[in-house]
Amino acid sequence: MRILKHGFLSLVRKPAKVLMIFAILFVVFSLLFTGVIIQNSIDESKVFIRKQLGAAVEYKADYQKAYSEELEDEEYMKLQLSKTVAEDIAKDPVVQQVYYSNSNSLMSKELKTAEYWERDGQKEYYDNTYIDEDGNEIKDNVYFQLNGGNVAEPLEFSEGDYYLVDGEFPTQDQVKEGYPYVLITRELAERNNFVTGDLIELFDWEENTYDLEIVGIYDGIQEGHMGNNLFVSYEFIREMNMNMYPDDEEMMEYVNRIIFMLADPLEVDGFVERNTSKLPSEYNYLDAATTQFDTLTKPLDLISLIASLLIWVVFGAGIIIIIAIVSIFVRDRKFEVGLLLSSGESKLRIVMQFIYEILCIGLVAFVLAILMSNISSAFVSDWIVENQLVEEEAAPGSRDDMYYGYYDTNVFGDVDMNNIAEDFNVSMNQEVIWKLFVINIALLIFASLVPLSIIMMFNPRQVLQD
């Protein structure tokens, strides 16, 4: 009770000293808070970018590295993806689903192709007939590109590139057992009058024939050259490989794409860090759109560094300044301390009174500094958005720029500097205010305890004589 009453009266009746301490704390807090708010906004912006890029991590071969190191042909095996390793990595608790797939091709002489190009807005289908030297019309093979995955709904569908217009996806058991099902394009179905339930007969290079049941017809982001793309199961392609290359075990286990879908986009960095060491070769890597992320966050990192420096410099200087002003504060009240000690007041309670007074001033300085730094941070934010968050050209030689094989669904979300600039916001939230409050209290108590601890060493007689 005495601490509260006397602490309050001391503040109210000695306004000059209070104002001096307040002014210093206000400046220190405002600078500190501006730095923290900017830092926090940058962290939130990074979270935004990461969320926009999605929760996918792709296990890839690093062709860029292989080219730059001029690997010999036989060494290219080092780039091969391992399904066993992928299954091991998929045990990581943050993995929700692992997708892997393989591709191959089959042929037909009977079916009409669904591949075309456009001329004057008209579709012109590739012709698979030609006239030989003797003037005979020869029918060439029509090629079909097979994509075999390990899940009932292929990634291209779950990512929204394609959608079913008829039929349904196979069951997971059919996928697992390698049942000869197929999803075909609407173009192919229309060209050949196929409906779901029909069988397509195709053959491979060894002339092994396969009857595939059409379970679904799809449409979506299609280009003319993709009309013959078929979706089958990974196990079906594995069986095809067994038929075609019975002695080549590596071919049977071959995988050309592995993607891990995580539960939370914010888990990707930790996931990559934990699992990179499990990769079989230095020519493999886990790609979490790292290059995109790094390119987009580069300007933010620079500002973050400056904000961090500001925070630490002000924090350090703040501690020294607060130690100095509290020392003056204690020295000015030495007599009062002696008087209280001679009355039997404990040193600890005297220290508590002074801490209470400093915290009261600090609290007012805190509230006003929050308001002030909100305004100043808004200016800094505008500057960042106008001058730093501007579109830059993609980093040259980015390995994400390299695509091999056929069309790959982009599993990473789209985000650019405009999105980041639109999202960039320094407005306060409860979490930031709480964080600042804790920093404020910690700074004040820590810096005050150093000079206040001198009171604990006071000799009451000496203090009264001084």
């Binding site: 005495r2 000695k14 008087l339 009355s343 039997g344």
Partner: protein
Amino acid sequence: MAQEKEIQFELKDISYSYIDGGKKRVILNGLSYAFEKGKFYTILGPSGSGKSTLLALASALDKPESGRIEYEGQDIQKIGFTKYRRNCMAIIFQKYNLTDYLNGVENVESSFYITDKKSPPNRKELSYKILSSVGIVQSKADRRVNKLSGGEQQRVAIARALAKDVSLVFGDEPTGALDTATSHEVIELFKRLSKEYGKTIILVTHSDEVAASSDIALRLHEGKLEEMKGNA
């Protein structure tokens, strides 16, 4: 049959010295004395004789080199210096020693907080009453202490000591900064404290006039206390 003396406070073989210019200077040398309850004592002695040191030791603001100080038969070191200062004694200084950002009544009221006894709910009214008993009216009691005269400030300091409700009151030249008339009034107050409230008053003073007003005047000579007269 002679009535047995009731000892309030006792100094037992107290010694104290300090180093001055490389030489050991003995201030108190095996000093012993027993102070009776309810008596008004004064301690006289020339400057540098160790009066203030004696008072600092008696009020536990400093520690003796050797010897014991007992309050109602209990070693004050065992009571605990802070606890002893808080619950057993009060001290009044020459320079009043009031808290400058508090007014008169708030200074007195503070005594009710710095104690292990339960603080009365009507402490403010009690403080006004005590101030009134030492001649400070409410309008003055409500003034910041630096707006009061020296005599008024000393009265507030005495009222604060009274509010502590302890039976032992020390004074370190409490009239030293006052004019003769005010000094006389303050001494009368101390006499009243001793007679009406049964408090043991021990004042250190230079003044023979103050000493003459006390029940027992003591002289500090060569580190020991000697009784000059006894009016009890």
